[in-house]
């Protein structure tokens, strides 16, 4: 089942108008844990960007900071090119919405589907016919006929349906941006395609901007225009999906891609151990202790934050 019009690789998708982004963003917990350690990011209107990395790389913290759920220790979050005003967050919240990983946890077990979708409308006191708005959101999320779902409880629905309810709840506010944190990782394999297809359709039909946070590179291949790879709080490689995933420049990206199960790929670069503690980030290039092609200078080189200019770039001495 395929959805949407395939957009040819190599052609710019977005309108070029910046929607949501970060400049020199840093989020440090307890003065020591540098979850986000200097990030520049820009997502344009109508773009789908995948933020990829393993657990602990800071991608979820970055997403939550972009949503205003977390205050940055340094740097700024930008919305439509302007810094976020933390006193007027409620307005911002209508325009930038969140889809969480675990749909069962994301829905209050005591609220019906109707209540869950109407919640945002009630919080913002959106004028108009609430029932009609809830119906529209449920339909847009693919739950038809919407009335059949009004009185159901989350535990009565399947995983895919629950995720659609969460998406409907976000859509009800007619946001401009959706930030989805692992939107399909807890769903069955055969259901993933439907939800990913839904995200694509929302971009095509409603012009929604989507930032997907995931550890699944295949997901990025499926729906993303651009990919940003994170490691230990920094973006180490960024660029158009086809370029980054087929011609990776950073050794970390190369290693990640080599271990994605695929029978055509026989030479795996399996890194030893796990990413180090974000409270003890290595000096120089933060990847150097595990890098299979490390050079002497990597322990001391100061790598700049990858900027927001378009194109394929990687933070590695071998590349520049």
């Amino acid at each position: 089942m395929t959805v949407g019009q395939p957009v040819a690789d190599g052609q710019p998708v977005a309108s070029g108008q910046p929607m949501i982004g970060a400049r020199d963003l840093a989020v440090v917990f307890g003065g020591r844990v540098r979850a986000v350690d200097g990030v520049d990011l820009e997502v344009d209107a109508g773009e789908i960007v995948a933020l990829v990395g393993e657990s602990g790389c800071g991608k979820t913290t970055l997403a939550r900071t972009l949503l205003g759920l977390e205050k940055p220790t340094a740097g700024t979050v930008l919305f439509e090119g302007k810094p976020l005003d933390y006193r007027r967050l409620k307005d911002f919240r209508r325009q930038v919405q969140l889809v969480l990983q675990d749909p069962l946890g994301a829905l209050n077990p005591r609220h019906t589907v109707y209540d869950a979708v109407a919640e945002g409308l009630r919080i913002h006191k959106v004028p108009g016919d609430e029932q009609a708005q809830v119906s529209e959101a449920l339909s847009q999320a693919g739950l038809r006929p919407p009335e059949r779902f009004f009185l159901r409880y989350p535990h009565e629905l399947s995983g895919g349906q629950r995720q659609r309810v969460v998406i409907a709840g976000a859509l009800a506010l007619k946001p401009r941006v959706l930030i989805a944190d692992e939107p399909v990782s807890s769903l069955d394999a055969s259901v993933r395609g439907e939800i990913l297809g839904l995200l694509l359709r929302l971009r095509d039909e409603l012009g929604l901007t989507v930032l997907v946070v995931t550890h699944d590179l295949g997901l990025a291949w499926n729906i993303a225009d651009r990919v940003a790879v994170m490691y230990l709080g920094r973006i180490v490689e960024v660029g158009p999906t086809a370029d980054v995933l087929q011609s990776p420049q950073h050794p970390y990206t190369q290693a990640l891609l080599s271990v994605v199960p695929d029978i055509a790929r026989t030479e795996q670069i399996v890194l030893t151990g796990e990413p180090p503690d974000p409270a003890r980030i290595p000096t120089g290039c933060r990847f150097h202790p595990r890098c299979p092609v490390v050079l002497a200078e990597c322990t001391s080189v100061v790598l700049p934050i990858l900027g927001i200019e378009p194109g394929h770039r990687a933070a590695c001495v071998r590349v520049t």
Partner: protein, 313 residues
């Protein structure tokens, strides 16, 4: 003589058929993959090997492990078999470990129960080393370990009594791709070194395709396709297998760009199965006969079989 053989195994919970007539066999040194999603019966099937199902479950057919039918074994013999002949690596390692006990103690438990070693501490250290963890970690508690490390502990636990067969139920599902690669490498090398048999259960056809020798695909309690792993991954014959394969697209495959593959609806609930071919309501290639004809596995090439009307022998 196969290491493990399922002969027409069926499991019913009251009226609900969780597993409906499964016949499979695994040889020593072989890795068999069982592909399927939630509700297809794969975990139930795995549980029959050690008779771990609740009393309310009715099991039919035979599960032959090393020449004996597990389902008709005496209780004493069964307890001896559990863990010493076959062991399970459970899903969700965080919940499989006791949070208030050091992992060394938990590893020691099966060793002590089955009296398979005189120096228990030495055996625990040996096991930890085998799975790539430093022996000093024996004093650690589960929450002090990362997800990948916990999964290694679960594998070590399964190896504790040197079983002939390991069943790994979704061993890498919650793990990052790099840790997943490490765990899969570990499992396959152990199988080779110790000449065990392994059943690997997963919903990720890519994982199975690269780790297993053969794959059996389960849907709604039945096997719908079998064959060599590479063949199944490269050229699936059953529409469901094709959908499963498409759910984890291959990077570099241009046809998968902006084209997520999914199936409408949800995996079927075992208490309310569709008529005829149980897959027909979701099948992208459904024909009118599919709703009324039950399909058995039919030959689909050398060493392959698929249960689909479109597969002509």
């Amino acid at each position: 003589m196969s290491l493990l053989e399922f002969r027409d195994v069926s499991v019913d919970y009251g009226d609900i058929p969780a597993v409906r007539g499964v016949t499979l066999n695994i040889e020593r040194g072989e890795v068999l993959g069982i592909a399927g999603e939630s509700g297809c019966g794969k975990s139930t099937l795995a549980a029959t090997v050690l008779r771990l199902l609740p009393d309310s479950a009715r099991v039919g057919g035979a599960v032959i492990l090393d020449d004996q039918d597990v389902l008709t074994m005496t209780w004493g013999r069964l307890r001896a078999v559990r863990w010493a002949d076959a062991a399970i690596v459970f899903q969700g390692a965080l919940h499989g470990l006791n949070p208030v006990q050091a992992i060394g103690k938990q590893l020691a438990e099966p060793i002590r129960l089955h009296k398979t070693a005189t120096d228990v501490d030495a055996r625990v250290a040996e096991l930890l080393t085998q799975v790539g963890l430093p022996p000093s970690r024996a004093r650690a508690f589960p929450h002090e370990l990362s997800g990948g490390q916990r999964q290694r502990v679960m594998i070590a636990m399964a190896l504790a009594c040197a079983p002939d067969l390991i069943i790994a139920d979704e061993p890498t599902t919650a793990l990052d791709v790099m840790v997943q690669a490490q765990v899969l490498d570990l499992l396959t090398s152990l199988v080779r070194e110790l000449n065990m048999g392994m059943v690997l259960i997963s919903h990720d056809l890519g994982v199975l395709g690269t780790t297993c020798d053969r794959i059996a695909v389960m849907y709604a309690g039945r096997i719908v396709e079998t064959g060599p792993a590479l063949d199944i991954f490269d050229d699936p014959r059953h529409p469901y297998t094709r959908a499963l394969a498409g759910a984890f697209p291959r990077i570099g495959d241009d046809a998968a760009r902006y084209a997520p593959v999914g199936l409408p609806g949800d995996p079927p609930y075992a208490g309310d199965l569709p008529s005829g071919c149980t897959f027909h309501p979701r099948c992208p290639e459904v024909m009118p006969e599919c709703a009324t004809t039950t399909v058995e596995l039919r030959p689909a090439g050398p060493g392959r079989a698929a249960a689909c009307l479109r597969v002509l022998p």
